[in-house]
């Protein structure tokens, strides 16, 4: 089915992005040739990108069925688990960093990754997590004087 084709999907997505920026550019005001406005470049490039996306779409449709271009997001069966859990872990880091603070969040983050994504044992995971959180805090917060969120452990 054509909708599963990589280039079909991506050309539609980029075409939509292009339209969005073109519309936005027109709203901002394109100005005139001797006084181009803020919307000039967004609209112009938006149109260009739209045309390029349309070209890609056209080429894809003309090529017809192409098994090789099917969307294959994962190289092997099951590798998506590692990637997805890493991604979600990153999101959790983002959410928990300010409320829980750098030390706790980093500790939880590393423990989870080493234990559940890398598949190593609990002792190893906890050990590496504690050492790294502590060492990195020393290096960055104290050594390089970067302000890291304190969260629930107040060290100052």
């Amino acid at each position: 089915m054509i909708a599963k084709n990589k280039d079909f999907l991506s050309s539609v997505v980029w075409g939509a992005v292009a339209l969005a920026f073109t519309w936005g550019g027109l709203q901002l005001g394109v100005g005139s040739l001797h006084r181009p406005g803020p919307g000039f470049i967004p609209a112009m490039i938006g149109v260009l990108l739209f045309l390029l996306s349309a070209a890609l779409l056209l080429i894809t449709l003309l090529q017809g069925k192409n098994e090789q271009a099917k969307v294959v997001l994962w190289k092997e069966k099951g590798s998506w688990k590692k990637i997805l859990s890493s991604f979600i872990t990153l999101l959790f880091y983002l959410i928990l960093l300010n409320p829980l603070g750098y030390l706790v969040t980093t500790f939880l983050f590393l423990t989870y990754l080493i234990r559940f994504v890398s598949g190593k044992g609990w002792w190893l995971a906890l050990g590496i997590a504690i050492l790294t959180s502590g060492a990195s805090y020393l290096l960055f917060a104290i050594g390089l004087e970067v302000r890291l969120p304190q969260g629930i452990i107040r060290l100052n």
């Binding site: 990589k6 280039d7 999907l9 980029w14 992005v17 292009a18 920026f21 936005g24 550019g25 901002l28 005139s32 040739l33 001797h34 181009p36 803020p38 919307g39 000039f40 470049i41 967004p42 490039i45 938006g46 260009l48 990108l49 390029l52 996306s53 070209a55 890609l56 080429i59 969307v71 294959v72 994962w74 190289k75 092997e76 590798s79 590692k82 990637i83 890493s86 991604f87 990153l90 999101l91 880091y93 983002l94 960093l97 300010n98 980093t106 983050f109 590393l110 990754l113 080493i114 890398s118 598949g119 190593k120 590496i128 790294t132 990195s136 960055f140 004087e145 970067v146 302000r147 890291l148």
Partner: protein, 496 residues
């Protein structure tokens, strides 16, 4: 002579203990990531860039540069010993280097790679020393139309020289340009596409964007791979090539250096293309081309010289014109801006301490790297054995810390994660991220110059063709864009 006195000045700064230390650190880190497959100079620079914010500007650039050309040295080690390129520019070195190793000549292969890298690196720094100031003073005659034309030429060439579909590369350029419009309009200071967000007023952060597209997505992609590494068991004897091998390598090193220098200077050219071209050239001019791929030393000497020359050469347009010609230079541009240094033809005259100390430290760095890469090869081989499963959590942490520490806001982390996902999808859907980054970096510059040109000429597009320098670049752009048609016609004729 001005260049020599500048060099003396630079050496006096480069030899300060702090700068020596960070130069060494950069070289060590560079060699390390060059040796380790899966992490390259682009990703590493993206990771370490925010940290260098806390260092003085010259020191920061010295260290970051050391990482870049250091990686060109380290990459050959894994290529020769394990048949896996440590980083992309060393891919061609696998072809003959690994074969040489299998024949017990791994030592000379490594030796020639290191020596070729040293010679090429040093010669290119000499070229940099003389060419950059000359180019900068020439560029002082440039005004907005010239800059607009050069940038368009550069962007076109970058999209063209990519390895995948050119149409898709241009699309990525378009996306990058559009992303660059988010934030404040460079000419009239109007907010664009910010949706009232305070964080988007400055636009999408360059560092989080790069760290996401090149750092985080790279880690995701590596998580998929199963690593099968069989490191050659043969002991590495004698690192020095014998007399015959020296003779055979001499001209390839010279040719490699020239090719690399040229590819480093032109936009879109980079160490990978330089190395590949050098291999192709050596095969062409060789008296025994059929032997390539079986373990000929020319196949190592040429490409390894070329990639180092390209690395040094790419500094020329960055330091003299303020125009980055590949992704790593783009990151250095970001680093300069982070330190409040405005790149452009005036950089050398306004910040001679920066320019000359970076040049001086490149000489020093090349010597350090020769010392690091010859005797310490055994050490690097040991490091190859660290499994990625242990490495990647640290890489993630680096990225998170790095992007947060810039402005102390989790918004930057969010941007980074978002573009990490985007970068991953781009790879899967067969798009290249490089044109996007370039267009994003150069877009605001381009827009400013383009709109100014039109304002100055009262809307006349002819200004781009009337001014000679600008016209040259516009024509060059046209030639590049039309070249596929030319090849198609030629192909049809030869078929008849």
């Amino acid at each position: 002579m001005e260049s020599l006195s500048g060099l003396m000045y630079g050496l006096s700064i480069a030899f300060q203990p702090g700068n020596l230390f960070f130069c060494f650190l950069g070289c060590v880190v560079g060699t390390l990531i060059g040796v380790l497959p899966g992490i390259g100079p682009t990703g590493t620079l993206a990771l370490l860039l925010p940290i260098t914010f806390h260092l003085p500007s010259s020191t920061a650039i010295i260290m970051l540069s050391g990482i870049y050309y250091g990686a060109m040295y380290g990459g050959s080690t894994t290529s020769i010993l394990v048949n896996i390129p440590g980083e992309a520019a060393s891919l061609v070195t696998c072809l003959d280097g690994y074969q040489m190793a299998r024949q017990g000549r791994g030592g000379p292969a490594l030796g020639i790679a290191a020596i070729g890298s040293f010679i090429a690196g040093t010669l290119s720094v000499i070229a940099l020393m003389f060419l950059a100031p000359a180019l900068a003073s020439f560029a002082l005659h440039f005004s907005s139309p010239e800059y607009a034309a050069i940038i368009i030429f550069g962007l076109t060439l970058i999209s063209f020289l990519g390895s995948g579909s050119k149409l898709k590369a241009f699309m990525m350029g378009g996306v990058g340009l559009l992303l660059g419009t988010i934030g404040s309009d460079p000419v009239e200071s109007v907010d664009r596409f910010t949706f009232g967000s305070f964080f988007l007023l400055d636009g999408v952060g360059l560092i989080p964007l790069i760290m996401g597209l090149f750092g985080i997505s790279e880690i995701f992609l590596n998580l998929e791979e199963e690593e099968f590494r069989t490191i050659l068991k043969e002991k590495i004897k004698n690192l020095f090539p014998n007399g015959k091998e020296w003779l055979e390598s001499a001209w390839p090193m010279v040719r490699g250096t020239l090719i690399g220098l040229f590819m480093g200077i032109i936009p879109g050219g980079n160490a990978i293309i330089a190395a590949t071209m050098s291999y192709a050239v050596e095969k062409r001019v060789s008296k025994h081309p059929e032997k390539f791929g079986t373990g000929v030393i020319e196949g190592v000497a040429g490409p390894e010289s070329a990639n180092n020359a390209a690395a040094a050469g790419s500094f020329i347009p960055l330091l003299s014109l303020g125009i980055p010609t590949n992704a790593v230079m783009g990151l250095l541009l970001a680093a300069l801006m982070l330190h409040g240094i405005i790149p452009g033809p005036l950089l050398i005259s306004r910040h001679p301490d920066l320019f000359w100390s970076v040049i001086a430290s490149m000489y020093i760095g090349n010597v350090m790297l020769l010392a690091l890469n010859l005797p310490l090869i055994g050490l690097w081989v040991q490091i190859l054995k660290v499994p990625y499963a242990y490495l990647f959590p640290f890489l993630f942490l680096f990225c998170l810390l790095g992007s947060f520490s810039l402005k102390n806001t989790i918004f930057d982390i969010a941007v980074m994660i978002f573009f990490g996902g985007v970068g991953f999808l781009l790879k899967k859907f067969e798009y290249e991220a490089t044109p996007l980054i370039f267009a994003f970096l150069l877009g605001p510059m381009f827009e400013e110059h383009f709109r100014r040109s039109l304002i100055m000429s009262y809307g006349g597009f002819s200004t781009f063709l009337e001014r000679p320098i600008a016209a040259v670049f516009v024509l060059a752009t046209g030639i590049v864009l039309l070249s596929p048609l030319f090849w198609r016609v030629k192909h049809k004729r030869s078929e008849q």
